[in-house]
């Protein structure tokens, strides 16, 4: 294997745990779909269909790849469900994995449930800022939106999330 390919793999290994968390967020907590998305994203990088041009950090760039791949998988799964033979299986249903939900603590289960009720954009920006410790500018880059839009999603999402978590506590 050539040295750029090795360097790429080292970078991928470094971001792997965080990328799995991000893939889970993009797939609505569905572990099977998240693993599938992550594999497809790695394959894109290995194939050269996704090329790192150095304009952003590797992590920001790769997270954008994961986000796009998850969106492609969602569209494909939606199309597959329209197919008459879809009952034969093959497409993830996009629901959270029951086994993973069982393994979660009560605190995180509440957080995941409250997040699930937020609009996708808000959920993504909050996840990138709080879970991935990114700045709003980095989150905007990953989500493919402007910084101003990302800030709006952040503020609205955070307020809605706090409200829901407090509402459950009462």
């Amino acid at each position: 294997m050539s040295s750029p390919a090795v360097a790429l793999e080292v970078e991928l290994e470094r971001v792997h745990p965080a990328a799995f968390g991000w893939a889970l967020a993009c797939c609505g907590g569905d572990r099977t779909a998240a693993e599938d998305t992550l594999q497809a994203s790695y394959l894109k990088v290995l194939d050269g269909r996704a090329r790192f041009d150095g304009r952003a950090s590797f992590r920001t760039w790769f997270f954008a790849v994961v986000r796009r791949t998850a969106a492609e998988q969602r569209r494909r799964n939606a199309l597959w469900r329209l197919w008459p033979l879809s009952w034969l299986g093959g497409a993830a249903d996009g629901r959270p994995d029951p086994a993973a939900a069982l393994a979660q603590s009560e605190t995180t289960r509440r957080l995941v449930a409250a997040l699930a009720r937020l609009p996708r954009r808000q959920r993504e920006v909050l996840n990138l800022v709080f879970y991935q410790d990114m700045s709003i500018a980095e989150a905007a880059e990953v989500a493919g939106i402007s910084v101003g839009t990302a800030r709006t999603h952040y503020e609205r999402g955070k307020a809605a999330l706090k409200q829901r978590l407090e509402g459950e506590r009462e």
């Binding site: 594999q39 393994a103 995180t108 957080l111 709080f130 955070k158 999330l161």
Partner: protein
Amino acid sequence: MIERDDEELRERFAALRREHTIAAPVFRDTMAAARSRPRAGHRLGFAAGAALLLVALGLIRTVGNRHHTSVDLASVRVHAPTDFLLQLPGADLLRTMPRLGRVSFDRRTL
């Protein structure tokens, strides 16, 4: 950008991250699974082949239906372009039974 009153949210997300880190698949396994996936080119080729096959089958069926007419072979009479060569002078003589006192053929054909 995270304010002080966001500390609780940050704690919750940190707990979620810890749980996910423990449950994350091993990198090598994910990479091996990624490498064993069918390449996009292969999938596209397969899809294009399947689409072509479907189109070809559809065409064959459509054209076949358009030209399909039932033929009663017993009633078919084939006329070859060279049939006139077999029409010999006096051929009526071979097809008719001669009878006394009656001309059973056309003299003009002789």
